[in-house]
Symmetry: C2
Subunit: 445 residues, 2 copies
Amino acid sequence: MSSSTSDVIAIALAAMLALGTATQLSAQSEPLSARESDPKVMGWMQGFPPPPDKLITQPDSNYFSFPKLRWSVCHLREFLPTEEISRGLGAPVPLPYPSPAEFAALAREIDALTFTPLNASEAMTWEESLYANYTDGMLILHKGQVVYERYFGCLEEGGKHAIMSMTKSITGLLGEILVAEGVLDDTALVRDVIPEIGDSAFATATVRQVMDMTTGVQYSEDYSDPNADIWLYSRAASPLPKAADYSGPDGYWEYLQQVPPDGEHGEAFHYKTINSDMLGWIISRVTGEAVTDLASDRLWTRMGAEQDAYQTVDGKGVPFAGGGVTAGLRDLGRLGQVMLDRGEINGQRLFPAEVVETIAAGGDPSKFAGFPTIPNGSYTSQWWVFHNDHGAYAARGVHGQTIYVDPTAEMVLVRLASFPRAQNGFIDPTSLPAYQAVAEYLMAR
Amino acid sequence: MSSSTSDVIAIALAAMLALGTATQLSAQSEPLSARESDPKVMGWMQGFPPPPDKLITQPDSNYFSFPKLRWSVCHLREFLPTEEISRGLGAPVPLPYPSPAEFAALAREIDALTFTPLNASEAMTWEESLYANYTDGMLILHKGQVVYERYFGCLEEGGKHAIMSMTKSITGLLGEILVAEGVLDDTALVRDVIPEIGDSAFATATVRQVMDMTTGVQYSEDYSDPNADIWLYSRAASPLPKAADYSGPDGYWEYLQQVPPDGEHGEAFHYKTINSDMLGWIISRVTGEAVTDLASDRLWTRMGAEQDAYQTVDGKGVPFAGGGVTAGLRDLGRLGQVMLDRGEINGQRLFPAEVVETIAAGGDPSKFAGFPTIPNGSYTSQWWVFHNDHGAYAARGVHGQTIYVDPTAEMVLVRLASFPRAQNGFIDPTSLPAYQAVAEYLMAR
């Protein structure tokens, strides 16, 4: 394989790996609107076969760029090898709903809610925000009951959507469960858990520093730099055969064995995806299970899930613990509800309450910087903690994915989206105040 | 991509495409036994990471050769892009079982049944045949109730297994349903359904000839010939980016557009996988649905399935209608039960009874030759019909896959396996008489 073919895949994978950072909210030319870029309107992959200009294929380097990504976020398994996160074989436990009349009345009231976006002067309605954010799915649970549910674009009730870096939060949750159970020592050094990490900068970090992304490890995601680490990581991760002249790391784990240092461990939070894959490796080493199987055993089979989820894998079958999961909207709602209810769902305890307490308490905001839309935040066990009045925390993924848990309002909100730009900093202004508005509405209900 | 890298994948795909023919039952050196080659014994993919000599990867051209295939048959999605055949979101309908005591007693009695393999003089027990056939899963339903169920090798209750050319029988069943419903005219010429089939030899075949594989189309599977059609088909089908110098067909459907003639349509049965993909294309054209979605709508969501199935796709997302499905053992049992009960399951009718009547009646055995273990057989709508005393018919796939329906004994038997050699002709001698023995046992029960 020539390096150019390899690069085609690396580019697409790199797009999937993209950071959630947004230190600059720069302007750019106006993209197609949510309605204009709806994949059904665009006609992607319609027809047997689709016309050539409507085909989206793996060899196409643009399959994960806007507007094609609005189709691809629901179809990753058609491009890449994957592993299943099984829900098991039993009956799903349906989420509770109000009566149809009450549900419709709630939808009307929530759609009409108004809020003022960050850095804006004009108010916007909730429903307008769904289109502004290129929403594909929106689910809101209040006190465990579904109070709002809508599908757009490529997503439908029986479909699944890439959750991008929300994958990290599943990995982090599994790690925190293992810590609470005494299976994983978060004060241990990585090299004590995985001796073959060798001279990698990860060797001397603690498991906790990996979980909280306060390691001092080099990992650049400057897409304009052809030598940026993101490219090497993407090439290592590609499940395609390596080029004959390729001599770099093969797979996520070989990459982690050669990471140079960058700063001191423990000094500051740096959002770097390689920490999540390091944590995934640690988890598999101490449990003897792939993160997919562990997510199935500990979460999907025990929360009444209605769909299997799946996770992309590298060329050696290692799941992408930093961003590879695709799942159903309501199952992500179940996961959020487990968090809100501190480890319980359907009358069953899945893990100790302290797991959620540790995550929700957050870390030291003084170590956290670079996210203007989360000014007082922190990042703990791969979850974003807002340190706001409601004690909210969230899983977040590029292009607008979120599971937002508001313990004060007893609200869980899941948004799946295909926003044209990757960084959530562009989407937060019309999202975070909207979540606060609906939380306040539900509290006053 | 160099053609050598492309060939690596083509070889693996070709292995998956392998024919069910066995005109010669030649001897070969003794392979590892079923117990010796158990993937858990071999240690494939154990450890995080596995040792290099225990890794099975997509770039590894041997991933679908014995003994590695004993692991790979349960893990195809980890190598290849796939599409889901959704079971839907509701509760599965459990299959009925006898009491545990009765189930265990049945197991003991069935295991001890004896039969004489074809062309043999010494008898063998049922249980011995399971190992002789490298069985991964065996399920027997009698009058709709599970009377026997065992898992071996890579398969377990919650797992899935490649069903190889049994995929064809799903495609054929969907085609027959559409014929019965008047959506598909089986007397039409292919070119009238798909005008862009152009000058392909398929153009002048009828839909029925495609369904029954009596077309006169060139398709050679002589693996020793580097110019055999199987290689071109496998290269066309590979989901990997094509080599820069590749100028052949891209995907299953482009391949079908350039098939040369070989003999006259309608004269004789020739087992050629390209017919199944031709039928898949016809089905998608007349329904506007991918075969995966149609299998979900018509079968998986309506038979109480407990697991989603999935199907491998080419580089354009077209499901491999001739061999790409992976599914759970019990769901294949449900499918067999639907056939036995002529379109009904769980008190619901899925399709008209005439669909099964057409298939079970079989075709003209005088057009059928080349399968010494099925001397009086025929092939109708992609199902094998034995024309034996019990009116049995079957779906069959290489390396020992079968759904065997015996209407006289009211028995459905599903075997999933990873026999070292592809052709069922090698496995039939210890299988077909065993099925007859268990059928007679159940009838006398």
